[in-house]
């Protein structure tokens, strides 16, 4: 992981990518008030995987984020384990994430906490699909605005089959998932 303030390898790649994109803007700080940024609507996303492969950056500026109030802290986590995993443990053969970006931490029986290592995550949405199908849908994708180079036309938006991408005000640059009204509270 690059230390804040230092230009790390990833920053270099990002800068190089920005230079290579017509209209790309090299900027990781907050956008000017009134400007618009690209963001994807997690309710629209159908987890096609293109967020990982179609961003101008490699790895993608799209990352998995986790809404802990929605999470069930499940032992049999659909976002962490392969569908047919023989065991519910941290063995690599059981992990769903292709780049091992999710950490499973035991809390108390039978609860486990799942955290995303953003540096490793490539935004493939595999865990998002598993969590949505078999869990509470607490894992979802967002364009990380500190990574995004703000292309005039987002390359993923052009490829997204679900039309999940939109321009939103930079002051509210994320479309976050929260616990649905009336749903039972988690502790």
């Amino acid at each position: 992981m690059s230390v804040k303030g230092q230009i790390g390898r990833r920053d270099f790649i990002r800068a190089a990518a920005a230079l290579g994109i017509g209209g790309g803007i090299w900027k990781t700080a907050a956008r000017e008030p009134g400007s618009m940024v690209w963001q994807l609507d997690p309710q629209q996303c159908v987890q096609c995987g293109r967020c990982a492969t179609h961003c101008v950056l490699n790895p993608s500026a799209v990352k998995c984020v986790h809404s802990y109030p929605i999470c069930g802290y499940c032992d049999l986590c659909g976002g962490y384990l392969q569908p047919g995993a023989k065991k519910r443990d941290t063995g690599a053969e059981n992990e769903l994430c292709p780049v091992s970006a999710i950490t499973r931490t035991f809390i108390e029986p039978p609860f486990f906490q799942y955290t995303i290592d953003e540096d490793l995550c490539v935004g493939c949405a595999k865990c998002v699909k598993g969590c949505g199908l078999f869990g509470n849908g607490s894992l979802y994708l967002q364009i990380k605005q500190d990574l995004c180079v703000h292309c005039n036309e987002c390359a993923i938006a052009r490829a997204c089959p679900a039309e999940a991408f939109q321009r939103i005000p930079a002051e509210q640059a994320y479309l976050l998932k929260t616990r649905p009204e009336g749903g039972p509270a988690q502790t």
Binding site: H54, L76, P110, L133, F134, G135, G183
Partner: protein, 339 residues
């Protein structure tokens, strides 16, 4: 400079024209096609193998559904004398076994669960409290709220006892017929061997079997637990697995109902399937497979869909009734005649 061919003659203008058109065509083609690779196999979530069910394992066939003229159906119940009750936005509708509407009662709101007592009173779980209707649909009582965190997901009646599953507080509440809370069931207590309910989402079902024993789903542990009315744990069985024999995900089985022979019918969210278990908890077969609830095979795995199976009941003819939110209908499944 004039460009000439090998014989020394100038290349005619039309050849240049054709070459230019071809070159432009190639450039346009290259620019318009998205040459980036599609996500590789390792980025795909594959569950198709679990979605496919051998047709020989499907033991039920579907009959004509009931399609209530009520928006947003949320709850289903049956009575021993062969009535079918469906609740949705501002209404409870009562049907006979032939699917004909017998009665319609206006209510306020959308019940989260529904049950009918032996004498025909209708119990409506209204998120944090229970409302009672007389058999003729007239309001009888509104029981006190169970608190801000309460979220009733299932209600079951047996004689004088009413049991309600409170997903918010992860406990089963036993009421008397007047709505007094008599007992809390299922709170974790190691000294009594009670593991505690794990309820990650609002899917927490309760029911009675054919002998009158009370059962509660422990959805986070992927199984069922039976309790005495005193709150003592009688037995439990859990089957966490994505294979057909088990229950997967965070909260399954999502709904359960017993048939008159003691066999158990279950629904699941995620992998929308309805299964039948024997009294000794072995998988007998499928009532309905995932494809039954989705027009397209991958529809079963679209994260944009909430689970279509919002409630389950068994009627007095042992048919399995599934409330399908996608179709806003009561889907009816009858066991195939044995050959």
């Amino acid at each position: 400079m004039t460009v000439r061919n090998k014989t020394g003659k100038p290349i005619p203008a039309w050849v240049w024209g054709v070459a230019t058109v071809i070159a432009i065509g190639v450039v346009v083609l290259l620019a318009s096609k998205d040459w980036r690779r599609d996500p590789p196999q390792s980025f795909r979530y594959e569950v198709a193998q679990y979605e496919r069910v051998d047709p020989s394992r499907v033991l039920f066939e579907e009959r004509e559904p009931i399609t209530p003229d009520v928006p947003g159906l949320t709850a289903l119940a049956t009575s021993p004398e062969g009535r079918i009750y469906a609740a949705g936005t501002n209404a409870v509708v009562v049907y006979g076994l032939d699917g004909r509407e017998i009665a319609r009662h206006a209510i306020n709101g959308s019940p989260t669960c529904l049950a009918v007592t032996a004498d025909g009173e209708i119990l409506l779980g209204m998120t944090d409290h229970v409302e009672v209707l007389h058999a003729d649909g007239k309001p009888k009582a509104r029981w006190p709220s169970l608190g801000e965190r309460a979220h009733l997901t299932s209600i079951a009646a047996n004689g004088e006892d009413i049991y309600a599953a409170d997903a918010g507080n992860r406990v089963v509440v036993r009421f008397d017929r007047e709505g007094n809370v008599v007992q809390h069931i299922g709170k974790a207590d190691a000294s009594k061997g009670i593991p505690g309910f794990v309820v990650p989402s609002p899917y927490f079902d309760v029911t009675f079997d054919n002998t009158g024993t009370f059962w509660a789903v422990n959805p986070g542990r992927h199984g069922l637990e039976s309790y005495r009315s005193s709150g003592a744990l009688i037995s439990a069985w859990y089957r966490p697995s994505i294979e057909a024999e088990g229950f997967s995900g965070c909260c399954n089985p999502s709904h359960v109902a017993f048939r008159s022979d003691g066999s158990l019918v279950t629904t699941e969210k995620g992998l929308a399937r309805v299964k039948l278990y024997s009294v000794d908890q072995k998988l007998v077969g499928f009532v309905a497979q995932p494809a039954t609830f989705h027009d397209s095979p991958m529809g079963a795995f679209s994260c944009k869909l909430e689970t279509p199976l919002v409630d389950l009941a068994v009627d007095s003819k042992d048919r399995v009734l599934v409330l399908d939110a996608n179709k806003n209908a009561i889907r009816i499944f009858e066991e195939k005649a044995s050959e």
